[in-house]
Structures are given as C-alpha cells and as structure tokens.
C-alpha cells in the first residue's frame, strides 16, 4: 500500500507514526509518502490530512494547485483542521476560505473556545472501542448530510464520522487520534 500524509503544515509526523504502527499491526506492507506536491498524490491508497491551521492548508494548497487532488484518493483520514478542509461548509471561515466539499457536513471552527477550553476525555467509538480523545481548539460538526455514519459523539455532538462515497472512504474526527492511538488508522486501512 502507498500511504501518504499531507506534510505542508501541522501535526504530520504524528500521523506517519500512527500509520506505521497500524500497518505493522495489520501486517500490511506499506510505503510512506510525505505529500507536498502534485506528483506525491499519484498512486496513493490512503492519505491523512492532519491537524494544523485550516486557513494555512487552504492557502498552501491553492498556491500549489493541489486542491483537486484529494477527490482521487481512495481512503482519507481527516483530523481537526483536515476535517474542516474537506467539509462542505465552514460557518465562520475567513474571507476566501472555501472547503473542498468531499463530505456533506457543516463545521464551526474553534467551536469550544480558545486553547484554555481544549480538553481530553474518553469516548466510545462504534466498531473501534474505547478511545482517548484529545480536542485542541477543536471544531464542531454543526450539520450532517445524508448517509453520514456517526462513529463517536461527545456531549451529543458527532465528533467522529465516516462516509463511503463511490470509491472513496472518508473517516473524519474533530479530535486528534494520532496523538493517542493508531486504532483509527487501523480502521481506515482495514475497511
């Protein structure tokens, strides 16, 4: 398998480590790609879009003409800012911030408040089990489109979702699984 992590800005290496652990556990022979330019997307089987600043992702991807590349990747794990990037509506985006619309959700950025409101807790994820979830200046999913599966909730809000759309499987979290576990990476690679 060819497994990539978008490596422009944010917590990218953490995803690479989690993917390595997941691949080893599943006995998958994998090649890892640090995705920075168009050619890095070719032949990818899976890609993680990390946490970071969604406004920065947008600008860097736009400047390099990389925005259309994501719809071709068969499996995507999008965490926090990554999830904002692939959503279909950002309720409080900055001027010119247009999400990719790969999944039909609306999001609100920094919905819990400032860094002082960042938190960690235990969650129950359907088909995955108990997980430790780290929310850092996290967004909230404010609207769910049709066919979206909710994998985990916190205080009633969906915080992990998945969607199979044509040949593309997307797993999205508003928290940071890569800082605590590789179980979400395993789920993506084995589904």
């Amino acid at each position: 398998m060819r497994i990539g992590v978008l490596f422009l800005q944010g917590g990218a290496i953490e995803h690479e480590h989690a993917f390595r652990k997941a691949a080893k556990k599943l006995g998958i022979k994998a090649e890892f790609v640090r995705v920075r330019k168009k050619t890095d997307f070719s032949g990818l089987d899976a890609l993680a879009i990390p946490g970071g600043e969604s406004t920065v992702f947008q600008k860097l991807l736009e400047r390099k003409g990389l925005l259309p590349e994501f719809s071709k990747v068969p499996k995507i794990l999008a965490t926090c800012a990554g999830l904002i990037l692939i959503s279909s509506k950002i309720e409080d985006g900055i001027a010119g911030q247009k999400p990719l619309g790969l999944i039909d959700i609306a999001v609100k950025r920094n919905a819990y408040g400032s860094q002082l409101d960042s938190f960690e807790c235990e969650l129950e994820a359907k088909g995955i089990g108990a997980v430790h979830a780290i929310f850092i200046r996290a967004p909230k999913i404010t609207k769910l489109g049709k066919g979206m599966k909710v994998i985990a909730r916190h205080g009633g809000d969906p915080v992990a979702i998945s969607k199979k759309k044509g040949r593309q499987l997307i797993l999205g979290t508003t928290f940071h699984p890569e800082l605590a576990t590789s179980v979400f990476h395993e789920w993506l690679l084995s589904n």
């Binding site: 917590g11 600043e53 920065v56 409101d117 960042s118 200046r137």
Partner: protein, 295 residues
C-alpha cells in the same frame, strides 16, 4: 475519565499543530489580518516589535490588554502574547484574557533575575527562548510546552538563531552517545532531572516542539533554520519592518512549508523589496543583547 483541561498533552499538542508554520509579530488588527491572510499559523500580539523596543529603550512590559483584545477579535488563528521573564502576574493577566499561548520572553525587560515563571501552574501553555540544551530543558522542567531559540531579536540578523539551533543539535547528539553515568552528570550540570535528560537522549530530539526565533528577515533565513532541523519559525520585526510586509509574510510562509525546494525558494525570494535594515551583532555591547537575559 472526567473531561480534563490544561494538561501538558493539550499544551504541547497545540504546539505540534503549529509545526511547519510561521508565527508573526503584529501590533494592531490590520497587521494581524495581513498575517492571517498571508498564511501565518498564529500571531504574537505586541505593542511594539522587537526592533522598536530596541530603538526606544526603557522598560518593556506586557502589552495593554486592550491591544491584545483588539488583535484577538481580528483573527481566528491562535493569538500569543508576551510576559516578562519571571513576571507571573503578567502571565496571570494574559491567561485571564484567554490568549492561546504565552511567550515568557527576553525581548521584554526581565522581572525576576532568579526565577522564571512556574509554568506548570498555568492552564495556558508557554513557549520560552533558549540558547542551548540546558536552558531549553530548564524551561521544559518549569512547564514550558514549546521552545524557541532566542536568536537576537530585533536585529534582522540570523547569526545568533543559527548558533542556538546548532548548539542544541550538537548537545543532543552528544547525549545520544552517553552511558547512564554520563547522563546523570549531564543532568547535574544542566540542573535538570535525570529522567528528562534520559528522555531526550532516547528521543534524539527535544520532547517538545522547537521553533527558530530572533533575527529571521527573509524566506532564505526561514529555510536555513528549517533545514537545520527546527519545527517552524517566529518572525518578529522581519515582516512589518520590511518595505513590503504582505509579500514578505506570504513568501516566508511558502519558504517554511517548502523549505527543501530551492526552485520554489528562488521564486518566492524574487522582487520582494528591501528586507528590514538589520544590525550587526558581533560588536553589540552586552547590555543590548536580549539573548543574554535569563539563563
């Protein structure tokens, strides 16, 4: 488990999300917007950039809370602010204002020559400057969740930041080859717990994110620091003391994201106009060296 806030993992985690990014000094809402539009990952809210602090002299203190609120209201990216070294009351005010990160900074006048702020007592994360591994580890031991080089702020001269990055790299390399006896000695010498030194020796890097700061004025400076192994850069006076802040800001963002791509660097370095004027550091009297504040 109950919901937890203010943990070290949350503090260092935010710094992890800033990696590969540029944190820019801004002094008003307009500059903050320029920084955000250029692709800054965070802004540092200040009354004066370091070059002006240097020029004006006198005592440099925490910014007016009104200034910080103005900047917070202007952007959606994280907002950092500086307190004086050891001035925990300024830090408490910044925490009460809800800033996302506090920089306990040598750019401001030192408030306590003996103690830095006990950062573990705060819910808000701290970043601190360091010239060498000992300083970096003492700050981490006090609770800093992110480290940056001190460089020499407000000079537009990269030489000190490079010295500090190389010093930390070299000292970590030495640790990697040490046996447990030597690690105990190194810990004693640096006045930090043995466990922390063991951790660094095993990891082969600092246990928190490390940015370059102090003297970055061009996209090439930013790329140099990234290639030497830092996780991102702070640009203080380098943007708003240049002749074309918008262009400089955007180019430095591109230079950090694509630091290994020399063709891209050549492109983004083209026709930028004048970088900040800059100062020679080697003949600067010690009392003007901000990096020598705190140890």
């Amino acid at each position: 488990m109950e919901k937890q806030t203010g943990t070290f993992r949350l503090k260092s985690g935010l710094a992890q999300m800033l990696k590969g990014g540029v944190i820019m000094d801004v002094t008003n809402a307009e500059q903050a917007k320029i920084a955000q539009d250029a692709g800054a990952v965070a802004v540092m809210a200040l009354e004066r950039v370091p070059a002006d602090i240097r020029r004006d002299g006198g005592v440099a203190r925490m910014s007016d809370p009104l200034k910080i609120k103005e900047i917070k209201a202007a952007v959606t990216i994280p907002v950092m602010a500086k307190c004086r070294i050891g001035h925990f009351a300024e830090a408490q005010i910044l925490e009460a204002l809800g800033v996302d990160y506090i920089d306990e900074s040598e750019v401001l006048t030192v408030a306590d020559e003996e103690f830095h702020v006990d950062k573990s007592k705060f819910k808000v994360p701290f970043v601190c400057g360091a010239r060498n591994l000992g300083e970096a580890l003492r700050r981490i031991d006090e609770g800093a969740a992110m480290v940056r080089t001190k460089g020499e702020a407000g000079t537009g001269n990269i030489v000190e930041a490079v010295r500090h990055i190389r010093a930390i790299n070299r000292e970590i390399e030495l640790l990697k080859g040490m046996n447990s006896r030597e690690i105990v000695d190194a810990a004693k010498e640096m006045c930090v717990p043995v466990e922390l030194v063991k951790n660094v020796s095993g990891l082969g890097r600092l246990p928190v994110v490390n940015f370059a700061a102090g003297g970055i004025a061009t996209p090439a400076d930013a790329s140099l620091c990234m290639q030497l192994g830092v996780d991102g850069v702070f640009v203080g006076s380098g943007i708003f003391k240049s002749t074309n802040p918008k262009k400089f800001a955007r180019s430095i963002v591109d230079a950090v994201a694509h630091y290994q791509d020399a063709k891209n660097l050549a492109k983004v370095s083209e026709g930028l106009g004048d970088a900040m004027r800059g100062l020679e550091v080697s003949n600067m009297p010690e009392n003007q060296r901000m990096a020598l504040r705190g140890k």
